[in-house]
């Protein structure tokens, strides 16, 4: 892989991770690679470690063995505070629900990562204006911006979370079942918008879901079941 001219967005090598050191590792991944600009659907049954894998890729969890690199830099090489800054600079994260800090307004939520990442803030000429524009494109009108995020509908919250993850163009977007709290119409609309924005910004999208019907929208599907160590 070292011969490849382009750096991988995320790259895992001989990774082993278990929640408790005594039991057999939950994940054992000899090799996994996500190219820049790629949109990947990460599938796997419940409890197979999808969320755990995202935690590893975002450097919040560290594997017992192996290395995980984001844009060429391994999490293990960094100190804890360096990891925090690196994550703020290069990763956007969307969860299944409760993405927003409830006492902040939608706009404040969207602007929050810029407080932790100077790099992302520097990419924006006028962060507030660009946040409003992006929010507008995802259907969060200016009438909703000032309200506490806790008062927004679930669909609005998810779209706001997407804007927060996209703002300042982080290279990698990690989404952990962002559509599972939405109804079918909302889900399709959300996915549509998310993919459009990701394509516009050129980010890598790693999208976790157990809803296989969404897979066709992505460049590639990775089955986590293939990496699962079957041991009890």
């Amino acid at each position: 892989m070292g011969t490849d001219a382009r750096l991988a967005a995320v790259e895992l090598c001989d990774v082993k991770f278990g929640w408790r050191n005594s039991s057999a590792p939950l994940l054992s991944i000899p090799e996994m690679r996500f190219e820049q600009g790629e949109k990947v659907f990460l599938a796997g049954p419940s409890g197979y470690g999808k969320s755990t894998l995202l935690g590893l890729m975002s450097g919040v969890l560290l594997p017992q063995e192996g290395t995980i690199r984001v844009l060429g830099k391994g999490w293990g090489e960094m100190s804890a505070s360096q990891r925090d800054r690196y994550r703020a600079d290069h990763l956007g994260v969307i969860f299944q629900m409760f993405n927003l800090v409830p006492y902040l307004s939608a706009l404040e939520n969207v602007l929050l990562p810029l407080k932790f990442s100077k790099l992302r803030a520097a990419r924006l000429l006028d962060p507030e204006e660009q946040a409003r524009e992006l929010l507008g494109r995802l259907g969060i009108g200016s009438d909703l911006l000032g309200r506490p995020a806790g008062e927004l509908s679930v669909g609005e919250q998810q779209r706001t979370a997407a804007v927060r993850a996209l703002l300042g163009q982080p290279e990698v977007l990690i989404a952990d079942e962002p559509t599972s709290a939405l109804d079918a119409d909302n889900r399709d609309a959300f996915l549509e918008l998310l993919i459009a924005e990701v394509e516009l910004s050129g980010a890598t999208l790693i999208f976790v879901s157990h809803d296989g019907s969404l897979a066709s929208r992505f460049d590639r599907v990775v089955q986590l079941a293939d990496f699962r160590t079957v041991a009890r």
Partner: protein, 411 residues
Amino acid sequence: MISLALKSLWFRRGSLAVTVVSIAFSVALLLGIERVRTQAKENFAGMVSGTDLIVSARGNPVQILLASIMHIGYPASGLTQETVQTVCSNRNVAWCIPIAMGDTHRGYRVVGTDLVMFDKFRYARNVGLSFREGRRFTEVSSAVVGSQVAESLGYRVGSKIVVTHGAGGESLIEHAAEPFTVSGVLAPTGTPVDRAIYVSMEGYEAMHEGFGGHANIDPLVDPDHAEEKSVSAVLVGLKSRAAVLGVQRSFNEYRPEALTAVMPGDTLLDLWQLTGIAETALVWISGVVVLIGLVGITANLLASVNERRREMAVLRAIGAGLPQVTGLILGEAILLTTVGVVVGLVLFQVAMFGLAPMLRARYGFEIAAGGVLPGEWVRLGWILLAGGLVGAFPAYRTYKRSLSDGISIRV
């Protein structure tokens, strides 16, 4: 990060306010109890600051001190004129104030004494008596009243006083024949002096002449000594304090009459030992009250840590570090304690300013209302430290949880 913390606090202001109020009340209570306790001691010590020895008929030193200085109870019996002469003429004695007591006037004690009282009596930090109005008694039938007596009974120079025999209420015989005329009103002292009426020894005895007896001696049993034994105690100031032990011994060994010479400072210490248990209980109670306040903060923080678990995961995911997330909780504990302490301090000051006049009027108890005494700063420091420590627990929990939750959100 700080504005985030403030917004979060504002979001939960309701329950936080309750926590702050509980801390504030416990701080105010702690300070109040401490203030009253220490000031009470200072007050009592101040009442006897100038007196080196109190000589009285043989008895319990604490009882003698209470009777002669604090006007609580009466000495067991009087002293003969001869004994008073001997005590006052001891070569080490600089001044002596004989006092006679046993009568009251509308609840206030009537004390027979000598003019020396107005020159030599010292209270607090070496302060002598001064007059607010009028002057010392010059005639047998004049009286000097303490400031509180004058205030509550409306006495001024020229008012007439009719004295009741005995310490009690209305049923006792009134010495209607011998009314006194107020010649002067003393300035407030914050000691029992404020609640006494002073008459000359001659006036005191004259008051009893028609009646023919002393408060403590049944005239039928002991008619001969009735006149002589009107002096209840003698307050003594020495030329040199160094001589006090020797003088005390010589008085205690006085043959013609059994005497007890009391060193007021030492006897006060004995008295503190008596009240020590109650005092210790008070200190414990106030300590426990603060503890309850701190437990309240912990409970509140732990609850909010649970509530905010998702919020923490979100903050972690967008780049907040473990130190920041942990610091958020710790900072909150410290802030809550600090605000609680400050509010408590204000509450305490307000309460003191409100209570001080009442304590003075009702118990003659002088209390320094304003400011914070050095010992109190130390206590506040401990409370703040405890607040920080108490915050460490929920903060640690947040830390552990953020570590294991990572960025995944637990519903």
